[in-house]
């Protein structure tokens, strides 16, 4: 059963570094699991914890946010603002009892195709081991 489980992971990728990095992984024909489908945003700074929570409540098993390395942000430091939100979000995820492994923030540059592939592989594995989140049902059952 657990082996049959394929996690659904929402990816938010910054256009300049991480999405380009993901494309590079493709250009180099690197293989990785199909569980993450990516939404392209201009900057990881566009991502608001609310969107992450919504994704989880809608049925995502994990959320991956990827942006430029600190210092390389195309918009100076949007990624730092993401980091600020992310760290506070992590604290709240702990309170919710949601494993931190389900929400990841990674720095992937346009040159790091292999890193992107690696991130997707490891995150898919981790979330698969954690099992489905299906938050909605959990909440209803807890009624």
């Amino acid at each position: 059963m657990a082996t049959a489980f394929e996690p659904k992971i929402v990816g938010f990728l910054c256009r300049w570094c991480s999405y380009a990095g993901a494309d590079l992984a493709g250009t180099n024909r690197m293989k990785y699991p199909s569980n993450v489908s990516a939404i392209r945003v201009n900057c990881s700074g566009r991502i608001d914890p609310t969107l992450v929570l919504k994704a989880l409540s809608l049925g995502a098993d994990g959320v991956l946010i990827a942006g430029c390395h600190p210092g390389d942000c195309h918009y100076t430091n949007g990624n730092i603002k993401t980091l600020r939100r992310f760290k506070l979000l992590q604290k709240m995820l702990d309170q919710y009892g949601i494993d931190r492994k389900r929400v990841r923030l990674e720095w992937v540059s346009a040159a790091e195709g292999e890193k992107y592939a690696q991130v997707v592989r490891s995150m898919t594995d981790e979330v698969r081991t954690l099992g489905p989140l299906n938050w909605k049902t959990k909440v209803e059952l807890a009624a």
Binding site: T50, L56, R84, K91, Y96, V139, A142, A143
Partner: protein, 318 residues
């Protein structure tokens, strides 16, 4: 002319909303020639039977306050819904879950354990816990079933309007009642007696640059009454909370706790406030940021103080 039939009722609440209505005092009397209060257990001796006896739709406007935390709350909400043309979720608890919904960060067993076993003042040697049914010599006694997850009113019945606030402030209450009595009626689902903009719009404090180098809790400082509290490091929910409360807390030099609830376009009051707050952390390095994040005590309790039941996640993992 026929008077508008009004009902007030409470579910899981502190009674503050009842007092808010009661405090209308004279205004309430002025309403008397327009309205007929036909059900108000908090003030006059009504039995549920009286309510259940009414034909459906008897009540023109029912204002229900309090969250739904047990089977009785849910039952009476349903009855009231059936008997009323308009049902209004009155006050933060009915609208958002309110303070009772903070119970959603724990569960029934833990609550019972601390209330009936662990608290030092509890004297309960046989460790008896509330049972919905108890056999006695006189026969079977029953009490309502206690829920693990607190719900908003509209999570159990259809709701026509919402009035935020813990409690809703006086003049808002009277204007809402007048509006519902005299019309014209706002679109279904509208939030009444509150502003469309956040509290900051009516806040008189001076704003400089939004930057937070250190989180300060209210007991640790006496804030400058002139300056924006957030800029003084105090977590003020103002930016993420509807105005309309005439900023009474701020005038008392206390930060907004968020009782007027999320803004029209905000997906989630707490999440939005968390994002806003973290965004203005005055920190660049991983360590600095971590330090600031760690200094935010109890994010859920802070950002969802009143809106837990209506939040995206609704409760913590049970």
């Amino acid at each position: 002319m026929t008077k508008t039939k009004i009902a007030f009722n409470w579910a899981s609440s502190c009674g503050g909303c009842e007092i808010a209505i009661f405090e209308l005092g004279a205004k309430l009397v002025n309403l008397a020639d327009k309205v007929d209060i036909i059900f108000w257990p908090a003030i006059m001796d009504y039995k549920y039977e009286d309510l259940e006896a009414m034909p459906d739709g008897t009540i023109d406007v029912a204002l229900m306050n309090g969250a739904i935390q047990n089977s009785e709350n849910e039952h009476i909400a349903k009855v009231l819904r059936a008997k009323s043309k308009l049902l209004v979720a009155f006050g933060a608890c009915a609208y958002l879950g309110g303070i009772p919904a903070l119970a959603n960060t724990t569960n029934r067993d833990q609550i019972f354990a601390s209330s009936y076993k662990e608290t030092p003042t509890t004297e309960n040697p046989e460790k008896i816990l509330p049972q919905t049914k108890t056999q006695t010599r006189e026969g079977e006694l029953s009490i309502p079933e206690f829920y693990s997850t607190v719900k908003t009113l509209d999570q159990v019945v259809e709701v026509d309007y919402y009035v935020p606030g813990c409690p809703p402030v006086g003049d808002q209450v009277s204007s809402v009642i007048t509006q519902l009595v005299d019309g014209p009626l706002p679109p279904k689902g509208a939030v009444l007696g509150a502003s469309e903009r956040s509290l900051c719009y009516e806040c008189k404090r001076i704003r400089a640059e939004k930057k937070i180098a250190k989180i300060v809790r209210t007991y640790q400082t006496i804030p400058d009454p002139e300056k924006c509290l957030l800029e003084q490091g105090i977590i003020c929910m103002g930016p993420a909370t509807r105005g309309g409360c005439s900023s009474i807390c701020l005038d008392a030099n206390m930060p907004c706790r968020g009782c007027y609830g999320p803004l029209p376009r905000a997906i989630d009051q707490g999440g939005k406030m968390l994002s806003a707050l973290a965004s203005i952390f005055d920190a660049m390095t991983d360590e600095e940021i971590q330090k600031l994040a760690d200094s935010v005590v109890d994010p859920i309790g802070t950002f969802y103080r009143f809106s837990m039941a209506r939040s995206l996640m609704r409760r913590t993992k049970a």
